[in-house]
């Protein structure tokens, strides 16, 4: 029987959606009928889909996932117990380090060509974001008590497990214990189906043409043409668009399937290429990640720097914050030079952006109309594309291979 369960990476294959839909029919019917959630059934569906993604040939990832969840659950439970009575910074930082440790090791080992198969699994960074978030909220006293079971269900919520969007615990918990009203749920179902179909268009049609068919050719041409060639420019556009359609398509699937289950997982993209500056871009691109970094890294760091008055100049403080933030994001993508350069590039871009905004504030008489807006969008798009060209790793192939 267990042999018959297929192995599938989430959302990678259209057949996965057929399985999801069939598995969710009883849940959807029950929620429409009773306006109540069906926790035990949801747990079974979760287990089955985790097995589909992390069982079979990728069983080592499955073992890693189990070990990881045990590790985080114990860690968070211990910290919560501790935090009820004490609040030392050292313990807080130690807990954060322990929560990040597994992720850190999986990112570090490949650098030394060292592989341990029971540490990494698809989606480990997204689970780490969720776990760290909960520890920080205990630290701040925003969260005082919790149910371990809710926390585990938050971590293992299968529609978003492999690549986000990164949900917030308190938001998720509220939905976990409250089912939507019938008519709201019907609207949510419609929205979910709609999102999944748009996702098909993005990932399986546009993403397929760009990524599988066009990109290999564009890459080859770009490598032959060199850094300053129109072939490289073409590759830059192709790769940037592919990155968006592939990832936005994936995110639409994750949000759409959450919607079918009656959860309003936050959206990850909001027309990012229509941004008129880099700051705006980060409000629209991979939103759940950038807001996570904003709320749990940047703002906390700034709060500390401003409160302790470590820097006299506001501008310096804020720029240092940006570099810290984007370097961290670069390292998070992987310990490789081009990811780190990608972080530095964006930090620089956002500092320049800030400087420009200050300049514009001083010169209120500068023109501002739909033409300047269009120019801003075009410039921003190209700066972003250039950053993705770094991110793609093609420069590594060009310079070092």
């Amino acid at each position: 029987m267990i042999d018959q369960i297929p192995s599938l990476i989430p959302y990678a294959n259209p057949i996965y959606f057929a399985y999801v839909l069939i598995a969710l029919i009883p849940l959807i019917a029950y929620m429409l009928w009773k306006e109540k959630r069906l926790p035990w059934y949801q747990s079974i569906v979760t287990l089955v889909f985790l097995y589909i993604s992390f069982g079979g040939s990728s069983w080592k990832q499955g073992v890693a996932l189990i070990l990881y969840v045990v590790w985080q659950t114990v860690l968070v439970a211990l910290y919560q117990k501790y935090r009820q009575k004490h609040n030392q910074s050292g313990v807080f930082y130690a807990s954060i380090i322990l929560a990040i440790l597994p992720l850190f090791l999986t990112k570090l080992f490949p650098v030394f060509d060292f592989h341990i198969s029971f540490i990494g699994f698809l989606g480990i960074s997204y689970l780490t974001f969720k776990s760290v978030q909960v520890i920080i909220e205990f630290r701040d006293g925003v969260l005082k008590t919790y149910k371990i079971w809710d926390y585990i269900r938050f971590l293992l919520f299968f529609p978003t497990i492999s690549s986000g969007p990164i949900d917030r615990f308190r938001r998720f918990q509220k939905e976990l214990h409250n089912a939507p009203l019938r008519s709201d749920y019907a609207d949510l179902l419609k929205l979910g189906v709609h999102r999944i179909f748009i996702g098909f268009l993005y990932k399986f049609i546009i993403g397929y043409y760009l990524g599988t068919l066009a990109l290999p050719h564009l890459e080859k041409a770009a490598l032959d043409g060199g850094l300053l060639s129109w072939q490289m420019l073409l590759y830059m556009y192709g790769y940037s668009l592919f990155l968006f359609f592939d990832f936005a398509g994936y995110s639409l699937f994750a949000v759409g399937v959450s919607n079918l289950m009656g959860y309003k997982t936050p959206m990850n993209f909001n027309k990012p290429f229509a941004s008129w500056n880099i700051k705006e871009f980060w409000n629209r691109w991979h939103i759940s990640l950038s807001t996570w970094f904003r709320d749990y890294v940047y703002m906390r760091l700034m709060f500390l720097l401003v409160k302790k008055k470590l820097f006299k100049s506001r501008v310096v403080a804020s720029n240092i914050g940006y570099f810290g933030l984007f370097l961290l994001m670069g390292f998070w993508h992987g310990f490789t030079w081009f990811y780190i350069l990608y972080g530095v590039f964006h930090a620089t871009a956002i500092c320049v952006n800030d400087w420009w905004l200050r300049l514009k504030k001083k010169h209120k008489n500068w023109p501002s109309n739909k033409w300047t807006h269009a120019l801003a969008v075009v410039v921003t798009f190209h700066v972003v594309c250039a950053s993705f060209l770094i991110f793609s790793g093609i420069l590594d192939k060009l310079f070092f291979n």
Binding site: L21, S183, F197, Y209, L213
Partner: protein
Amino acid sequence: MKKKLFFAFGPVLIAFIIVACIFLTPTKTTIKNDHLIEVASSSLSSSVVQGTTFTNSALASNQYLPMFGSSELKRFSAFHPSVLAYKYNRPYTPFLIGDAGTQSLTHFSIMNSNEKQLAHKKMVFIISPQWFVPKGIKDDYFEAHFSKLQLYNWLTTTQHVTTYDQYYANRLLQFKNIENSAKLTTLLEQVADGQALSKKQKNSLKLERQLLDKEDMLFGSVSTLFDSNLDKIHSYEHDLPAKADSNEWVKIADKIGAKNTSNNELGIINSFYNKNLRGHLKNLKGKQADWDYTKGPEFADFQLVLQQMAKQDSDVLFIIPPINEKWTNYTGLSQEMIQNFAKKITLQLNSQGFENVADYTTNAAEPYFMQDTIHLGWKGWINVDHSLQHFLKNDTKPTYHLDDYYLTEEWQQS
């Protein structure tokens, strides 16, 4: 309420119906568009290697001459068979089948899926010595060209399991991507035990095969268009004289060869040298002295191909390219070992009735015979053309008498 739900799930229902209509109607999957087939013939696209639609459609006509091989087919130059065929309006167009890393197992799978179309026809098969490494085809190469569609074709059409079928099933079971699929493992173990699939098993595979077939037809054409090499081929036609003349060709080949191998002493085309060798050439000096191409499972895998050729009554020209001698002098690879390889494979061919063998391993030192280290170049292709024209004129029908001994471990290691 009902209306809302209808609008929510109506599209899902419609999508299912459309998909079912497209994929489950048992229509024939052939391509009628001649231009598309022409593009495919020299595209070396993955849909040619892993699909069946293109090969089935093209090989059904007599216009195309199938040429099986590997990476040398991709390296176009003035004397590449496709360029010559276009330039001189030859009565055939080569249909190139292969890619970097396609070896005997992949070719068996492709031929088996085109058995009917290939029956009683002439074809060319280029055997690369470097396939015959002691461990046989690498996992990665095998997986990159693995085709579920072709495997299902074989599984559903095998009526009585022969020694060859058992050998193939056992061989497949050694690869990682097969091992990872519980379903394929079970089916192949059954065949390896000597049992053909039951009717029920076949029917369930046939349904899935139909899906794969439709997928191949719908998506293969688009990806092939992206892989077109026609512009490249036509651009090389300019290097050729208006009339086919061997003496003239050799002069041109010397000229082009000299011009294109100017940045190194090894007779290797400049672009290849820059891209793959410059920089770490020193690390390769004398490093290949103990390499051996005379033993290993590839010999038995190749026997599988011969069996398929005999079964479909193909008339085959085999080509054995040399390895650039300047290069082997540098890396220490033994030309004597390559001679031994050629002897062994020629014995396997001749003793079973495969008489058309163009063995060029003695031409290793001829300038511009090779384009780089292991890929046929300007003069090499001129020689191939001579053999090919001779082969196409020859109408004696071959008779084959297969010997299962060539499947055995003893032969592989002899």
